[in-house]
Amino acid sequence: MLSEIVFYVNDKKTVFSGNPLTRLIDVLRDDLHLTGVKEGCGEGECGACSVLKDGKLVTSCIIPVGAVNGSHIYTIEGIRDTEKGKCIVDAFVEGGAVQCGFCIPGMVMAAYALLESNPHPDDEAIRQGISGNICRCTGYDLIVESIKLASERGGALWEK
């Protein structure tokens, strides 16, 4: 079954013609070359492929492209140069949150979704907010600290 799916990726209108069961991650990585979206597990467990779908954090490896018709999708490429995206990326870089880096684009997306809904989270809320994103390197402490830093530095930015 072929169908035409229209959605927006990083504000760009995207038309997908093909099997609607194609995974969103494959469309993003293979067709749109958005390789900041990483595949860590292929079953929605690790969060490396996290993107925003209509403002909500989702794992693009278990979403069929047919399910995003009409949606707005943001990937790391779409937020990294925005004021909010830069705020998080800078905090991660300076705060020592990055080691091997494979989970980090997804982790930045999780931080973004968290700060959008809770501009000044405490440690517990941050740990909750990234609990769907697995990191094997850092033990999470410096990621948590970096998100706190982004929240403090961003200040009113996150309340907009």
Binding site: T35, F92, V98, P105, G139, Y140, D141, L142
Partner: protein, 712 residues
């Protein structure tokens, strides 16, 4: 640009590109006309291959197997030995052994075709556990007794004499399980031909290991194969020898097909069909006097190696050399055996054999202390190694040992002494403590005799390029090494370049393993920098240095006697837990650590390593259960094999002691593995105290805790 000082807080050089999603990992590379590969593997643990029935392959699809190796080549991967075959041929020895590579343009078609390959086997009874292998279940896999490798060390008096003098003997057997690396980036490599040379892009720790391992498949020499390391998304030992197992078949496919070919494991493949940490079975028999003082320890250490040697002998050696932990045991004899089974070959994993024996000795010492009514920390501290103490290999500790200071720091931060006394055993709350070390770099004179590491600095104008074979895999070496070069030269880190290694362009600095990179390669770069600084005004030039072993520290690699390690990292960790007595869920409420790594080159990077290593170790002890049933791993995905999330462990408190190492750059020693080596034992100590149980194995997820409670 201001010069970078070694203690300046700087920003990690690779962080921004990674956080912005711009760093290119192996999966992100594409080439014109690129094909994909899918590995066809053995589906039984042991037997002979009777037939392989292939479906009709569409045009442009290939099946590559042992028969595609040219006559001048040999079907073997040269790791430490050459026993691991590139392709199974005639027989198979473990589930997941490579039989062939399907290659073609469409990944879905490859999967479809793979499901239509019919391989018929005559099955044999496999040996899965260490006990199976000792009992020669199904007949020997290796030699006549399944012993792949063995060694012993001894110190002091003969053990018969020691046990004759003993008032009592305390004996127990402690077992540790498989552990899967779960680097977030799965194994991946791409083979192609560039400038007429076979070229492999690989997610790997040791590019020179790959070219050495695979060249012989085509009858070529190591220099004929070019390896380019791609940004590596975690490794932890899992990409030390194992990339050879991907790159070998890929090279043979490249020889036949001559187009770019990409092989990426999905998570299930990476979970089921990759190397793991060696499971162990360690028996410690300790001779004691009437007051509970240790007269001597007799140890027997088994590591499950799988059917091929890979890194097992070296892993086992390190295990045996760490078998007395951080303690000066007056008399000891420890024998280690690497035993062959029909499980996936075990190989390097952060700690490299030391975590198993360290867990065993820590837990054993703690059990003895409790038996005689001593506080475990106090009891263990009586035996701390000191400068000049004789080691288990009859060498000496040649540095100051700061364990007493480290214990004090951790005890103060955690309020250990009060909690240890006040928390009553079995009442749901417990604190545990452990001590550990890790010998830096290759054992003995291996750095000089085996590795012969080289490093080079190249000056062009006011920029300096570092040329080494060492890799960044997340541990921060791109930053650490640049910082060492900049601080030595008295220039800014911005003026230093250091690319992911390409084996055709850089000298072999030895593997990125054994916590040796900062200590050994960092020191080489420092020496290059010292000369370059003196000659700075000579224009453009390069300086290359080879490793030189400090004199006066003999080592005999035949008898395993002498100074095994010149500089150890040292550690102390405390863990506090609360146990839910209904569900047996353990909640960790506090983690404290102190480490001696000489001098920290970059404290923020060290902070991240400490946190990450300790969480991996706590996962190993608590939740990371990988079971092998009849040759098949039971845990196939990240939902069955659970590794720690952000919710599992609390924020850590950590500290360092300053103890500069004479032969390290700016006083630095190794640290990447050290921080894995001890939190497991502290956790188990805490769990035992909280629940009033005695533990003899890890991991201990809730269901195993329940079993232990029932046994009490």
């Amino acid at each position: 640009m201001p010069a970078t000082g070694i203690n300046d807080r700087i920003v990690r050089v690779d962080a921004a590109a990674k956080a912005r999603g711009e760093a290119k990992y192996a999966c992100d590379y594409t080439f014109p006309d690129m094909l994909y590969a899918y590995m066809i593997r053995s589906s039984i643990p042991r037997g002979t291959i009777d037939s392989i029935d292939m479906p009709n392959l569409p045009e442009g699809y290939y099946f590559i197997s042992a028969k595609d190796i040219p006559p001048e080549g040999k079907n073997e991967l040269w790791m430490i030995a050459k026993d691991w075959r590139c392709f199974a041929d005639g027989d198979v020895r473990f589930v997941g052994e490579t039989i062939g590579l399907l290659v073609g343009p469409d990944r879905n078609m490859l999967k479809y075709l793979s499901e239509h390959i019919e391989i018929k086997y005559t099955e044999m009874e496999p040996a899965i556990s260490i006990n199976d292998a000792i009992a020669l279940k199904g007949g020997p896999i290796v030699g006549s007794d399944n012993v792949m490798c063995q060694l012993f060390v001894e110190k002091g008096k003969p053990m018969e004499e020691v046990f004759r003098e003993a008032d009592s003997v305390f004996e127990e057997t402690i077992e540790t399980g498989f552990q899967e690396h779960v680097h977030l980036e799965t194994n991946a490599a791409i083979a192609t031909i560039e400038d007429g040379k076979y070229t492999i892009y690989a997610s790997a720790q040791c590019p020179f290991y790959i070219s050495k391992a695979v060249a012989g498949l085509l009858g070529l020499e190591q220099k004929d194969i070019v390896i380019k390391q791609t940004t590596t998304g975690g490794a932890f030992g899992g990409k030390e020898h194992f990339p050879d197992v991907l790159c070998g078949p890929l090279l043979v496919a490249e020889y036949k097909i001559r187009k770019p070919i990409k092989l990426i494991f999905d998570r299930e493949e990476d979970m089921l069909y990759s190397v793991k940490r060696h499971p162990s079975k360690i028996t410690l028999k300790t001779a004691l006097d009437k007051d509970g003082n240790i007269l001597g320890i007799d140890g027997l250490v088994y590591y499950n190696g799988g059917p091929y040697l890979s890194g097992t002998y070296v892993v086992l050696q390190r295990g045996v050399f760490h078998a007395n932990g951080v303690y000066d045991i007056p008399n000891t004899y420890v024998k280690g055996i690497g035993i062959a089974t029909n499980t996936f070959p075990s190989d390097a994993f952060r700690g490299f054999g030391a975590p198993q024996t360290l867990f065993a000795i820590e837990t054993h010492m703690e059990h003895i202390a409790k038996k005689f009514g001593f506080d475990p920390a106090e009891y263990k501290s009586r035996y701390f190694l000191k400068k000049d103490s004789e080691t288990i290999t009859n060498g000496h500790i040649i540095e100051r040992v700061m364990l007493p200071e480290m214990l004090e720091k951790v005890a103060t931060a955690s309020d250990y002494w009060r909690k240890s006394k006040e928390y009553k055993t079995g009442e749901g709350r417990g604190i545990g403590i452990s001590f550990y070390n890790h010998g830096g770099a290759f054992t003995g004179n291996g750095e000089q005799a085996i590795i012969k590491a080289h490093a080079r600095l190249v000056k062009t104008g006011d920029r300096v390029r570092i040329e080494v074979g060492s890799t960044e895999m997340g541990q921060g070496f791109q930053t650490t090494l640049r910082k060492i070069a900049a601080a030595t030269l008295g220039i800014s880190i911005e003026q230093i370049d250091y690319d992911n290694p390409d084996t055709s362009k850089v000298p072999d600095s030895g593997p990125t393993a054994a916590s040796r990179s900062t200590m050994i390669v960092g020191r080489l770069v420092q020496r290059c920098g010292e000369e370059m600084k003196e000659r700075w005004n000579e224009g453009d030039f390069s300086v290359e240095k080879e490793y030189e072993h400090p004199e006066g520290h003999p080592w005999n690699q035949e008898t395993f006697r002498g100074d095994a390690y010149l500089g150890y990292g040292w550690g102390c960790a405390a863990v506090e837990v609360e146990a839910d007595k209904l569900t047996n869920e353990i909640k960790v409420v506090g983690i404290w650590s102190c480490h001696d790594i000489g001098h920290a080159i970059d404290e923020l990077i060290v902070h991240g390593q400490v946190n990450g290593g300790i969480v991996q170790s706590l996962g190993y002890a608590s939740m990371e259960k990988m079971e092998n049933r009849k040759g098949y791993f039971k845990q196939t995905s990240m939902s069955d094999y659970v590794i720690p999330t952000s919710m599992d462990f609390p924020k850590q408190e950590w500290s360092l002691v300053e103890n500069p190492y004479e032969w390290g750059p700016f006083g630095a020693k190794g640290m990447g593995e050290l921080v894995f080596n001890g939190a497991d034992a502290a956790y188990i100590d805490a769990v035992e105290r909280a629940l009033g149980i005695t533990v003899h194995k890890i991991p201990m997820p809730p269901e195993d805790i329940e079993e232990a409670l029932d046994a009490e």
